[in-house]
Amino acid sequence: MYELFTRLATTRTRAAAVLAAVFAIAFAAPAIFAGAAPAPTVDITKFAFAPKEITIAPGTKVVWTNHDEIPHTVTATDKAFDSKALDTSDRYEHTFSTEGDYAYFCSVHPFMTGIVHVRKQ
C-alpha cells in the first residue's frame, strides 16, 4: 500500500514535469522561431560595456546603446565589425551568424572591452 502510494506520487511528479516542459515549449519556442524575442542588449555606460560578456546563438542580433555623454564605438579587435561614433542614445546593432568569440572595444577608449560568445544552444 505504501509502495503503491509512492509510485503514484512519482507518476504524478513526472506528469507535472512533462506538463511543465510542454508548456515551456508551447510558449517559448514559437517566440524564438518567430523572432519575437527581444535582441540582447549591451549598455554603454560610464565608460564600460554592460554586460561585458554575453553568450548568444548564431543568427542573433545584438544591440548596443550609448548612454554616456561622450562618444564611444563598438569595434571588433579584428575590425570585422565597427560602429560609427555613437553619440548619446545612439544605437548600433550587429548580427552574429557564425559561432565564435568576438572580442571588441571602444576605439577611442581602448580600456573599454567586451566579448560576444556565439554558441549553438
Partner: protein, 349 residues
C-alpha cells in the same frame, strides 16, 4: 593631487625650468605635497601636478632667451607683457564644437570668450595653437563651424593637431579637409618661427584594445628625420593632443610610445611639450623636457582617479555654477626671477 574644492580660487607660483633649473610649484599652500623643496635633481622624474582652473582660458606662451614660458592667462588684459621682440603665442585646446550637453551647453560661447580674451592681450600673439578635440564627433558641420569661429581670431595663423574626437570615424580624412596644415595630407608637421622649431604630432590614430594610444612607427621615423636637421640649441615646442607621459593609464591618459619620441627630443636644450585631452592643467618636468597639459574650452573632467568618480566623463556642476568652474588663469613673470606667478580664479565669483 591638490584639489581643494572649498577654495574658490587658488594662487600658485611656478618656478620655470631651464637646463639647469628644475621646475617647482611652490604652493602658497604649505600643506601641499608639491610645496616641498624637491628640485635639485634635474633628472628626477617628477610629476608636478597642479589642478588649476577648469576651462575657459587660453594660455599665453612666450619664448625669450630660448626657453618657452607660460606668460599669463587671458583675462581682462591683465597679462604681463612679454619681453620686447619675444615670440608670443597662445594655446587653446579641447573646444569640442558640437558638444551640447549639460556640462556646457554653450561651447561656442566659451570659445568666443577665449577669442575675445586673446584679442585683449597687451601683445598680439604671433599665432594660436589648438591641441586637439576641435570637434566633438568629427562631423563636417562641426569642423566647418569650428573653422568659421577660428577665422574670428585676429592672428596670422592657427596651428592645430587632431584629438581623438577629430579622428573617431574616418581617421584623419574628415579633419584634414578643414585643417590640413601643410597640404601634405598628414597629421604631423613642423615649422620654424622666431628661432623655435615647432612640431605637431598626431597620437589619436593608433588605439589598440587594452593599451594606451601611440604615435606609431611611421610618425616616429618622420620625427627622427625632422629633428636631424635641427641644432640641439634650438628650442623645440611639440604639440600633441593626448599627454606625452602617462598621467593615468586606467583612463588611457598617456601615449604608449611617448618614451621613444622623448628619447629623440632629449638631446635638445629646451623642449616644451604642449598637450590637451585631460581638460585640466598638469605638468611634468624631466631633464630639459617640460610637459604641460592645458585646460579645455568645453567642460571639466575629473582629476585622475578622482574619488567617487570611476570614469573620465564630463563633470556637471549645478545650474549657475558653471561660470564659477570656468576658470581664468593668469600667469605673470616675476621680474628678476625665473618664476611665474599663476593666478587661477573663476570667471564668476
Amino acid at each position: 593631487m591638490p584639489g581643494n574644492k572649498t577654495v574658490p580660487w587658488t594662487i600658485w607660483s611656478v618656478e620655470h625650468l631651464n637646463r639647469r633649473q628644475e621646475t617647482a610649484m611652490d604652493m602658497n599652500d604649505k600643506t601641499s605635497p608639491l610645496a616641498s623643496d624637491d628640485t635639485h635633481d634635474p633628472n628626477r622624474r617628477k610629476a608636478l601636478s597642479c589642478l588649476a582652473a577648469w576651462t575657459g582660458a587660453a594660455v599665453v606662451w612666450t619664448v625669450a632667451g630660448g626657453v618657452p614660458r607660460a606668460l599669463g592667462a587671458t583675462t581682462d588684459g591683465k597679462t604681463t607683457a612679454a619681453a620686447k621682440n619675444a615670440l608670443t603665442f597662445v594655446q587653446i585646446s579641447d573646444t569640442h564644437i558640437g558638444f551640447k550637453k549639460d556640462a556646457n551647453p554653450d561651447v561656442v560661447g566659451s570659445l568666443r570668450r577665449a577669442i575675445a580674451d586673446i584679442h585683449a592681450l597687451p601683445q598680439a600673439p604671433a599665432f594660436v595653437v589648438h591641441t586637439g578635440d576641435i570637434s566633438h564627433l568629427s562631423r563636417p558641420d562641426e569642423f566647418g563651424q569650428a573653422r568659421e569661429l577660428f577665422q574670428e581670431l585676429k592672428v596670422d595663423r592657427l596651428h592645430t593637431v587632431p584629438g581623438e574626437h577629430d579622428t573617431i570615424d574616418d581617421g584623419l580624412t574628415g579633419y584634414l579637409k578643414f585643417f590640413d596644415h601643410d597640404g601634405k595630407g598628414k597629421g604631423w608637421y613642423s615649422f620654424d618661427q622666431g628661432g623655435v622649431h615647432f612640431i605637431g604630432l598626431t597620437n589619436t590614430l593608433n588605439f589598440k584594445m587594452g593599451t594606451m594610444t601611440s604615435l606609431g612607427d611611421e610618425q616616429l621615423a618622420w620625427l627622427k628625420s625632422d629633428l636631424a636637421h635641427v641644432s640641439h640649441s634650438t628650442p623645440v615646442v611639440v604639440l600633441a593632443h593626448i599627454p606625452m607621459w602617462t598621467v593615468y593609464a586606467q583612463w588611457g591618459w598617456g601615449t604608449a610610445d611617448a618614451d621613444q619620441a622623448l628619447a629623440l627630443l632629449r638631446p635638445f636644450g629646451s623642449v616644451t611639450v604642449l598637450n590637451g585631452h585631460i581638460h585640466q592643467v598638469l605638468q611634468k618636468v624631466e631633464g630639459n623636457v617640460a610637459l604641460h597639459t592645458a585646460m579645455s574650452l568645453a567642460y571639466p573632467l575629473p582629476t585622475p582617479g578622482q574619488e567617487g568618480i570611476g570614469e573620465p566623463g564630463p563633470l556637471k556642476v549645478p545650474a549657475g555654477e558653471l561660470g564659477k568652474r570656468l576658470g581664468i588663469r593668469q600667469l605673470s613673470v616675476v621680474r628678476g626671477r625665473r618664476e611665474l606667478a599663476l593666478v587661477d580664479q573663476p570667471l564668476e565669483r
